[in-house]
């Protein structure tokens, strides 16, 4: 928590410094920067607060742990199908989902499942309102509908590549460090 507050302060100070320097060198540009930033802020702030509340709710009601239980049990096609769809609806960053997937992998989930999971997670359904607001609904709909095939292909292809690689160098898959 302390670290979070400290990081937050660093971001605010660095950003303030950037803006301050620009404003001193050229007040007109500084004003323009402020206008654009303020415009983006007012456009996004309500959506972002709504998204944060919903992500918080998702985390407690369908937490990553629930998902890993679900995915850990299912193998084969069913596992891949789940791994390519369900993660679209969860939040978090790579820093939070990597450790979760490590646990999943240690419990026996296939490489295809893990790869598909990471890819599908980029669908980012909780952020959909932001995506529609800034990039339009056509972009958002096309991106989310391509995520599932992308995740399936990614899972199968990377499993294939890693297995071929292992045939030549037996240490490839098993040599995951502790």
């Amino acid at each position: 928590m302390k670290k979070m507050v400290r990081d937050a302060l660093i971001y605010v100070l660095v950003t303030g410094a950037i803006w301050g320097i620009i404003s001193i060198v050229s007040p007109a540009k500084g004003l323009l920067v402020g206008e654009v930033a303020y415009g983006a802020f007012t456009k996004a702030v309500e959506i972002i607060i709504a998204v944060f509340i919903i992500i918080g709710l998702i985390q407690v009601w369908v937490g990553p742990q629930t998902l890993s239980k679900l995915l850990g049990k299912e193998a084969g096609w069913k596992g891949l199908a789940l791994a390519s769809t369900v993660p679209i609806f969860i939040g978090g960053s790579l820093f939070t989902i990597f450790p979760l997937l490590k646990t999943l992998r240690d419990k026996g989930a296939s490489i295809a499942c893990v790869m598909a999971f990471i890819t599908a997670w980029a669908g980012k359904a909780p952020l959909l309102p932001l995506e529609i607001e800034f990039l339009g609904w056509k972009f958002a709909v096309l991106r989310i509908s391509l995520i599932i095939p992308f995740a399936v292909v990614m899972g199968l292809l990377s499993q294939f590549v890693l297995e071929k690689w292992q045939d030549r160098h037996p240490a490839v898959i098993k040599a995951s460090p502790k």
Binding site: G56, E131, R143
Partner: protein, 159 residues
């Protein structure tokens, strides 16, 4: 029409439903939301200022020539490379991509930027290597880069 208030209303309705069902879990959810807000808002402040900087200092012509429709598939590659090195929160990816679009970037390069910004992180490489090994990491990042390129072409053709 502004849709922000509608989303807010939906979020609050869900929050109330959750509180009715389990007040303890709902408190945990709010705590989680607060933590996310504390992490993301300062980053968003930086991103919003950077959006201003891009608007003030990078001309429309520059962005259009690098990422616009004339840039073709090379634009997708540039978008992907920028996204791979961008150290930004997923929540900040879309507003930033919006500025790029407003300043003349076309949808293929924007897709490349958005997907790699979420999926490929130079900052997360050490963790990925530590947890899954370097072969896994190399395979995932390279294949992601290639597949995103193909999806970028689809975007370029359709949108």
């Amino acid at each position: 029409m502004r849709i922000g208030p509608i989303y807010l209303a939906i979020a609050f309705i869900l929050l109330i439903l959750s509180a009715v069902k389990d007040i303890r879990k709902t408190k945990l959810a709010l705590k989680a939301s607060g933590k996310i807000a504390l992490t993301v808002f300062p980053v968003l402040f930086l991103i919003f200022i950077l959006m201003g900087v891009v608007s003030a200092f990078v001309s429309k012509e520059t962005i259009a020539s690098w990422l616009g429709s004339g840039s073709g598939v090379l634009g997708i590659l540039i978008g992907e490379i920028v996204g791979s090195f961008a150290l930004i929160q997923p929540a900040a990816v879309f507003p930033f991509a919006g500025v790029l679009r407003d300043r003349g970037a076309s949808y293929g390069p924007i897709l490349g930027f958005v997907m790699t910004a979420i999926l490929i992180g130079v900052s997360t490489l050490p963790l990925e290597i530590k947890l899954f090994g370097k072969h896994f990491t190399l395979t995932r990042n390279v294949l992601t880069f290639i597949l995103v390129f193909l999806i970028g072409i689809i975007f370029m053709l359709i949108l």
